[in-house]
């Protein structure tokens, strides 16, 4: 069964560009990040526009962890440790992450987790 033909695979597509139809969910909006601004201010406009969606994502990540560790203690410890971890991150990333946390109103530990998720996830 494992070696059987993939039932969902399809023939190579042709002339699918420019994208349209049910697979196309829209264009990514464009933002300018001004590197002349202090790191803590660079992301303010973008985060102001996306903070609701960002909060939804961090809440879901917290929910998934809570599902694995229902007492909530692990999540609490992790968030506390990740808040401390932010102080060790190099310039300008620490300042930018702190700026994002401030602009979004999301706890710093959760923004740090979002930013180091790749390192956590690669096992």
């Amino acid at each position: 069964a494992v070696l059987a033909k993939d039932p969902y695979a399809e023939e190579c597509r042709n002339e699918s560009y420019p994208p349209s139809g049910p697979r196309f969910k829209g264009n990514a909006p464009v933002y300018i990040i001004n590197l002349d601004l202090p790191p803590s201010k660079r992301w303010d406009q973008l985060i102001n526009d996306k903070k609701v969606q960002l909060k939804t994502l961090t809440d879901t990540m917290r929910g998934i962890m809570t599902a694995f560790f229902p007492s909530g203690k692990v999540v609490h410890i992790l968030e506390k440790e990740l808040t401390l971890l932010s102080a060790t991150l190099p310039y300008p990333f620490r300042e930018e992450i702190e700026g994002i946390a401030k602009a979004s109103g999301i706890p710093l530990g959760e923004i740090v987790m979002f930013n180091v998720f790749y390192e956590i996830f690669t096992v």
Partner: protein, 253 residues
């Protein structure tokens, strides 16, 4: 993820990627989709990083994430990163960082630093090859002239392999999913074979960003984890990001 760098018959380079993320992070039974994947889509943005009102580099990113996973230095090079799974994974690097051993670099911060500071394809390749990391990764790098395309396979501490295009009888494209290119992919997650089959049909005579888009939107290269597709032409200073979904029937990864 699936990343491709390809060279056409005139030596022009094209770089594109599917960003797939969210495996095992919550399955929405009602909508038959991965929760995190769906929530990342509205956070996907195209960014133009400027200094003195001039573009330094451009990227496709998630709002709230300060590192880079896809980007381009106009006219110079393009870079994407694919996840590489390993037992010697990022959690070891994080523990070492917490314990004070901080000679490695966070993946997203390295790619951001390369896009911001590197001045050539060779310089970027050098940085991505030699810098110690906290987690393993695949770096897919494209340049602005013939032969400038490669996949750099990284462990945390060293470079395991550099796979170049079009030099010494090499291929006209490199294609990376999430497995070492010299080994077979996991049998339940083989996006490489269908992607290669589509690329081989296109040939260097017909390769372009639209034809690569055809490859990346063919199932199962496109799958339930796909958040977006990014198309890059360094020569034309062009980067486009499209949000994509995979309607049923569709592979979960």
């Amino acid at each position: 993820c699936t990343s491709i760098v390809a060279e056409d018959k005139t030596g022009k380079l094209y770089h594109a990627r599917n960003l797939d993320f969210g495996l095992f992070l919550g399955w929405d039974v009602k909508n038959s989709s991965w929760t995190i994947t769906e929530e990342l889509r509205p956070l996907t943005v195209s960014l133009d990083f400027q200094r003195n009102n001039k573009t330094v580099f451009k990227s496709s990113n998630f709002a709230g994430y300060v590192g880079m996973v896809s980007g381009m230095k106009p006219g110079i090079f393009s870079l994407t990163m694919n996840e590489r799974f390993s037992i010697d994974g990022g959690y070891i690097g994080i523990f070492q960082w917490i314990l004070g051993k901080r000679d490695g670099m966070w993946m997203g911060f390295l790619t951001r630093a390369v896009l911001e500071n590197s001045t050539s394809y060779e310089d970027a390749k050098d940085q991505l090859t030699k810098t110690k990391l906290l987690a393993p990764a695949y770096f897919i790098l494209g340049g602005n002239r013939t032969g400038q395309g490669c996949v750099i396979t990284r462990s945390r501490l060293s470079t395991l392999d550099i796979w170049n295009i079009n030099t010494n009888g090499g291929p006209w494209y490199v294609l990376e999913t999430n497995y070492d290119h010299w080994e077979d992919p996991f049998v339940l997650d083989d996006r490489r074979t269908p992607a290669r089959r589509c690329m081989d049909r296109i040939t260097p005579e017909n390769i372009s960003l639209p034809t690569i888009f055809d490859v990346l939107t063919t199932k199962p290269v496109l799958n339930k984890l796909t958040v977006s597709t990014t198309l890059i032409s360094v020569t034309d200073s062009r980067i486009e990001t499209y949000l994509l979904g995979c309607p049923d029937p569709c592979n979960p990864w």
